[in-house]
């Protein structure tokens, strides 16, 4: 299962890098969203995906899934949500000011 998850993460990273390298600001934002998905999955995978109950003590199970990476991911999800939301507004604002979302045209003039 870890093998499959790692390959999935690899695909996510590849696609998000590709999106980050394109010229459209919107695609760059989408790339960032996908990249954070990849990071979260990788966090979960690297802690091991052995069988076990969900980390709830009420389950009375012999073994539980590792709770620490889950807590870390939860923090990461919220933070990346905040950043993405800000980024979206920033993209909106940029478009309002400059009437373009093409990064080629947003580079500024040569003498700057």
């Amino acid at each position: 299962m870890e093998i499959l998850m790692i390959i999935t993460v690899g695909v996510l990273v590849t696609v998000s890098t590709y999106l980050l390298l394109t010229k459209s600001l919107l695609r760059v934002v989408l790339g960032i969203v996908l990249l954070s998905h990849g990071a979260h999955l990788l966090l979960l995978t690297m802690s091991g995906l052995k069988e076990g109950a969900p980390p709830l003590l009420g389950e009375e199970a012999a073994s539980y899934a590792d709770p620490l990476p889950q807590a870390l991911i939860l923090t990461a999800i919220v933070i990346s949500f905040g950043v993405t939301a800000f980024l979206l507004v920033l993209a909106y604002r940029t478009y309002k000011e400059h009437k373009t979302d093409d990064l080629d045209q947003l580079r500024g003039s040569a003498d700057e």
């Binding site: 695909v11 919107l26 003590l57 923090t75 939301a85």
Partner: protein, 804 residues
């Protein structure tokens, strides 16, 4: 702190006071307040340390500065230091006196600047020659470079002054840096910054592999400062400085700092043939280049600048020739070569006297006629008789005519080069014959430019119409300093031995400390009908012949151009450096986000890929993996498929929906992987995100079908696949080697302690708010900041009317 420390620091202290003095006493020329200081210092050194028939006493004083790294303000005064200190203070006094009359216009000139810079220079120069610690010497050395540049650019509104200052700064500071590197190498070899301690170890470091690099670097510093070929090009451009500055810095003191350094390090480095060869060949090259270039000049200061370069080359080559005395530590033989060192020291004093007076004379001519161009001057002999007399003495001494002191040192120079032909190491026996020939040719040209300077200025027809002012004799105040220097020229010429016992002997003793034989310097005017005398006679005859035919061969193109051809190399190099860096910058700083991101990614791929390859870190672990349930297969494959489809979607709503689907599948994955809290959060966040996307995209333009060249797409594809591969490989290897480390997860603690310690059943939530509550606190802060940012960005009006 000893008196000698205060002596070095006194000029700096006075420099701090000068601006106040300048402001408080507007009606008195500021120079009068400066004048006593060098005079007092000179008198102090003269009476306290100069031996009158007795033994020379060396003084060594130390004050801790940064003792932890061996940097102390150590003063060491021996013959060599005393000679330079006397030159600095003595000529300093005369120059200050001269400058009072030269820059007489109190209102227009920023005199406070002038004297602050001059005092800074004086203190730094005293520091260079009196310090024993390499780092302290370097500090003072750089202050001389700095104050010299400030003084050259004194009239900073002139383009040429700024150019000259920048050039001298760049060249001398580059040399200073090289010197610092050389000093560091010496420290590595010896473990001390003290020159005297290094000299004691001189024998043992000779075979060290860093010995030659250290020597070359120190010499680079000395050559740039002392304007040796090919670093001499800054000196002619430094002539834009006020004439007192040229007289002080660029003839008598600063340009001799390199000479001082070479003389100071002779006991350390002179045991090798490399030292002999570098010094002698560069010195002779500078000598002949300077003397030939001086003939081409039309500006009196230009002639003097190249003359200075040439004479510095002479002194440098003499120091090189004299280093043979260290190599040959055989009785009676070393005295033969030590003559060159004596000649170097003697000529150093002579040059300071006559060149100082000549610069001052040129300043007077400039001051009284308004020009320094020899094509406009002429027939000043009867108009300015005193100036004429001083010039005659100075020029005759410079040309090497009896009975002036230049004659004596030139004879000794010829003796030195003739002796060098008898040296028999490192092919000197074959090439040695070149030394006297080069020296003789250079002397001929020296004679020629001296004649040009003299006859073009003082004889011929007076051309008042070409002059800006009506020429007349200078005021007495301007004449005092050159008269003093010219009388010294005559005195040293007639009675050279008053110098030899008092100062030349202790100086030679400190340049050649291992020189055990008792020796007495005796300088005679007449030493029989020897080769040197015939050489001088030939110089005079041949020089006169060349001068008389000047018209004929001065037409040659080489002599038409005034500027040194090496300047083209410097200017081109500087321009090329600017243009080159501009090109490199434009090449990498494209202004495109994509390019910078690509640099980072490519660097990451190379670094990680190389590391993985280098340490053979690839590992796969197919054993310790959990089994994959069939529905997980389906979920994952759908996820992969939808992820891959994202770049191909050109419809913005489609893209949002697919990205939303990906988010929800991830939430589903969390469910399958037994992370209920994660699944919940992911679902919520994804929902809000999709809403946000939709809100935002409503205002944004339609995703354009991007028209990229296939090459652009291909590089992007290669980079992203590279990144994906590196991440995948790293993850595989990390996963496979996870158990090799032998450190178990700490999660068992959370599982066990969740209920008894925190009283919670949901371990994830207990970790978030109890065990690691700080993370959560700050994460809340992040959200708050993001929210504030969002509000600000939406409400903020960039152009006026802020309503936030």
């Amino acid at each position: 702190m000893s008196t000698l420390h205060y002596l070095v620091l006194a000029p700096f202290a006075l420099a701090i006071l000068i601006p106040f003095v300048y402001r408080w006493f507007r009606h008195i020329h500021t120079g009068w307040f400066v004048l006593p200081l060098p005079l007092v210092l000179f008198v102090y050194l003269f009476t306290q340390y100069l031996p009158f028939g007795g033994e020379f006493k060396t003084a060594a004083e130390s004050v801790a500065w940064i003792p932890s790294i061996g940097v102390n303000f150590d003063i060491y005064l021996d013959g060599l230091s005393l000679l330079f200190a006397l030159l600095i203070t003595g000529i300093g006094t005369l120059v200050v006196l001269y400058s009072i009359y030269y820059i007489a216009n109190k209102k227009d000139e920023p005199l406070n600047n002038f004297y602050v810079y001059l005092l800074m220079f004086m203190g730094a120069m005293l520091g260079v020659v009196l310090s024993d610690n390499l780092i302290v010497i370097y500090v003072f050395w750089e202050i001389t470079s700095l104050s010299s540049a400030l003084l050259i650019a004194y009239w900073f509104h002139k383009e040429k002054s700024r150019y000259g200052a920048q050039k001298s700064m760049l060249i001398t500071v580059a040399g200073g840096f090289a010197m610092l590197a050389g000093f560091s190498l010496l420290y590595i070899m010896t473990g001390t910054f003290s020159i005297q301690a290094i000299i004691e170890q001189a024998g043992s470091i000779m075979t060290h592999s860093l010995f030659i690099p250290a020597m070359l670097l120190v010499l680079l510093g000395a050559f740039t400062k002392s304007a040796q070929f090919p670093f001499h090009i800054w000196l002619p451009d430094a002539m834009e400085a006020p004439t007192p500055v040229s007289a002080y810095l660029h003839s008598a003191t600063m340009v001799k700092a390199g000479i001082y350094l070479v003389a100071r390090f002779t006991p350390v480095f002179a045991g090798t043939p490399e030292w002999f060869w570098i010094l002698t060949s560069f010195g002779l090259m500078t000598l002949i280049w300077g003397s030939i270039s001086a003939v081409r000049q039309k500006d009196l200061k230009g002639i003097l600048a190249f003359s200075t370069i040439s004479q510095l080359g002479l002194i440098m080559s003499l120091l090189g020739l004299g280093s043979a005395a260290v190599l040959y530590n055989v009785e009676n033989v070393d005295m033969l070569y030590a003559t060159a060192i004596i000649a170097a020291v003697f000529h150093l004093i002579n040059h300071a006297t006559f060149k100082g007076s000549l610069f001052m004379v040129v300043g007077i001519i400039d001051h009284e006629t308004g020009t320094r161009d020899i094509r406009k001057l002429g027939g000043l002999m009867t108009i300015m008789p005193i100036t004429f007399t001083i010039s005659l003495i100075g020029i005759a001494s410079m040309a090497g005519l009896p009975p002036f002191n230049g004659f004596l040192s030139k004879e000794m120079f010829f003796t030195g080069v003739l002796n060098a032909t008898t040296i028999d190491f490192f092919n000197v026996s074959t090439w040695g014959i070149l030394f006297p020939i080069v020296a003789w040719i250079a002397s001929v040209f020296t004679f020629v430019y001296c004649m040009i300077m003299f006859f073009r200025t003082f004889t011929g027809k007076h051309q008042p119409e070409k002059l800006e002012k009506e020429a007349h004799e200078a005021p007495m105040g301007l004449l005092i300093s050159p008269i003093v220097l010219a009388s010294l020229v005559v005195i040293f010429g007639l009675f050279p031995n008053i110098l030899s016992y008092s100062i030349i002997e202790p100086t030679v003793q400190s340049i050649l400390p291992n020189y055990t034989d008792e020796f007495y310097v005796n300088i005679y005017h007449w030493h029989g009908l020897n080769t040197e005398l015939f050489m001088t006679v030939a110089v005079v005859l041949f020089g006169a012949l060349v001068f008389l035919n000047l018209k004929r061969w001065q037409e040659a193109t080489f002599f038409l151009k005034e500027r040194d051809p090496l300047n083209r190399l410097y200017d081109g190099g500087l321009d090329g450096l600017v243009a080159g860096s501009q090109r490199v910058t434009n090449l990498q700083l494209t202004g495109l986000l994509r390019d910078y991101f690509a640099y980072m990614m490519v660097f990451m791929i190379l670094l990680l890929g190389w590391t993985i390859f280098r340490f053979d870190a690839i590992a796969f672990d197919f054993v310790n993996v959990a089994t994959v349930s069939p529905y997980l297969w389906v979920i994952t494959l759908v996820l992969i498929a939808s992820v891959i489809s994202v770049p191909f979607i050109s419809n913005r709503i489609g893209a949002i929906i697919v990205v939303g689907v990906i988010g929800f599948i991830i939430a589903l994955l969390f469910v399958v992987l037994r992370a209920p809290d994660l699944a919940l959060t992911q679902l919520l966040v994804e929902t809000v995100m999709v809403v946000l996307f939709l809100l935002c995209f409503y205002h944004l333009p339609e995703l354009k079908k991007e028209k990229f060249t296939p090459r652009f797409k291909l590089t992007n594809l290669v980079i992203s696949i590279g990144v994906g591969l590196v991440v995948t490989l790293t993850a595989f290897s990390a996963h496979a080697m996870r158990h090799d480390i032998g450190v178990e997860s700490i999660s068992q603690f959370f599982i066990e302690a969740s209920k008894p310690l925190a009283g919670g059943y949901n371990m994830v939530n207990v970790i978030l708010v109890d065990f690691r509550g700080l993370d959560t606190l700050l994460e809340v802060l992040v959200l708050a900041v993001a929210a504030l940012g969002v509000v600000t960005m939406i409400k903020l009006k960039m152009k006026g009317g802020e309503d936030v």
